[in-house]
């Protein structure tokens, strides 16, 4: 299983409108606020890989990370599983770092194991995968980075001058 780079994945024929449909800020916030356990499909143990950056970051912010990758025995200090179906406990979110052609299969497994949400990272664009998960009752986010969305909504992305798009005059919650 090779990890999909954030920019080299080939998108499928999903239209911009279809991609936007799966980038609803309300869905993103609901997932970030309610999730506790996140299975990361394609999580690498190599600390220089994008998936490791995301797993490490989310783990720092209190989520339990479950690596799903047949090529790994362990990543970010957690035992790795070969497939979603091998994980012996409930996962709230399935976060996918795989090439788009593998997404429908991952989506079917996510439905099968009863996950609450399917999250497809930057560049992981699969309308078919999204529809499978949606039909199975899962919330779906596509072509968005879970680390960035956490940092935008609840973290410190603004400390590095990035455009969070967050505009408001209310006092922020304590980090």
């Amino acid at each position: 299983m090779t990890e999909t780079g954030v920019v080299c994945a080939l998108p499928d024929r999903s239209s911009a409108a279809e991609i936007r449909k799966y980038q609803d800020p309300r869905v993103i916030r609901k997932i970030l606020h309610t999730a506790r356990t996140i299975a990361i499909v394609g999580l690498s143990s190599n600390v220089l890989r994008p998936s490791n950056f995301v797993g490490f970051y989310l783990q720092r912010h209190g989520y339990r990370i479950v690596p799903v990758n047949p090529r790994e025995t362990e990543a970010v200090g957690e035992k790795a599983y070969a497939s979603l179906k091998d994980v012996p406990f409930h996962v709230d979110v399935v976060d996918v770092f795989r090439a788009p052609q593998f997404v429908p299969e991952v989506a079917r497994e996510a439905v099968e194991v009863g996950a609450d949400a399917l999250w497809l990272q930057f560049g992981v664009i699969s309308g078919e995968g999204a529809r499978i998960a949606e039909a199975g009752g899962l919330d779906v986010v596509m072509d968005r980075c879970m680390k960035v969305e956490h940092a935008r909504n609840m973290g410190r992305m603004h400390w590095l001058g990035f455009n969070t798009g967050m505009v408001g005059a209310q006092r922020q919650a304590t980090l």
Partner: protein, 446 residues
Amino acid sequence: MTDLDPRAFGFDTRAVHAGQRPDPYTGARAVPIFQTTSFVFEDAESAAAYFNLQEYGNTYSRIMNPTVAAFEERVGNLEGGAGGVAFASGLAAQAAAFFTMLQPGDHIVASSALYGGSVTQLKHLSRKLGLEVTFVDPDRVDAWRQALRHETKLLYGETIGNPGGNVLDIQAVADVAHGIGAPLMIDNTFATPYLCRPIEFGADIVVHSATKFIGGHGTSIGGVVVENGTFDWSNGRFPIIADPSPAYHGLAFHETFGMYGYLMKLRAESLRDLGGCMSPFNAFLFLQGLETLPLRMERHVANAVGVARFLQQHPAVESVRYAGLPDSPYQPLVAKYLPRGAGAVFAFDLRGGREAGRRFIQTLQLWSHLANVGDAKSLVIHPASTTHRQLSDDELLAAGISAGTIRLSVGLETLDDLIWDLERGLDAARSARSTGVDGVAREVVA
């Protein structure tokens, strides 16, 4: 915590709010000035995560600072980019933007009408570092295309040139750049994001001298780089960004940070290594400026139009090069790129050459004779003897400057007062013309 509504707020709202939400600890409504060199780590693991860029954290104010970050995000937001990185000056920002993406042997195609300081930086500093530069007439899209080489990695122009008032066909030049997999960088200093947002027309990188209209008060030197986050730095032409970086323990910036890869490298390597960081106090002053940017730019433009119309009908004036005048050859481009106005910096040519220019400037009571633009105060300068002094005769001509060229930066004063003062200066210039003293560019430069 109340979740924010994802409304697409208007420009004026974002000019006041973007980049700052009241902090959770004090609730301070103004952006606090974090005048500190460094930041205490929570624990050893956090320190490591910050330095590894695994977590968004503050380490040292040469690389990031919360006051500066509010300014960076605000400009990034107003330009419609992925974010911003601030620098000690516009030239520091521009140099860092270059060195983040270019390496020895690479070639830049740049507008010949760039600000004189930019021309000098490109021509001398960049060449010293092994970069090749070709300057082209910015008005001819085919000239940009013809200058392309296999090694061309960047096209660079200004929204509004100086002092010729050239308006760049950003979309057409962006298409030329993207045709060879190179980004287009635009200096948007004279337009500000209120008048033009080059990213909306295909530009990939926008740089500013914040010293000018962004500040608007003439108190602080600063610059900022914004990137759109959509350019494909992994297209095979930019190994310096796409490949594992030896300057950051093998991190591949574009793959790891995606749309934020260029900005992350700009900050974590270029700003770290070149060191030209913006001071928190200056960032605070620039934030004060940005809050009133829409109001100020409206007045700057209205006054500039009034001054240009006055000059155009005055017998001592040979020509007025303001793109905002109805008979400007740039009107179609102004309509497309600058519908709210063509800025407030422009040049005109006095009859009578060098001596007329000298008398004109010396007679002025309200206009300040200095080397800056974009202040609330009206400014005037004679480029051939000051800002463009390092340029050769040919470069001066290519930049559209003659011995009688006067550059104005129209401020926020009462329009009638500005015109009153200019009229006194023009009367003095006319009396110089009767003495028969004249000059050409090459004499002025010599």
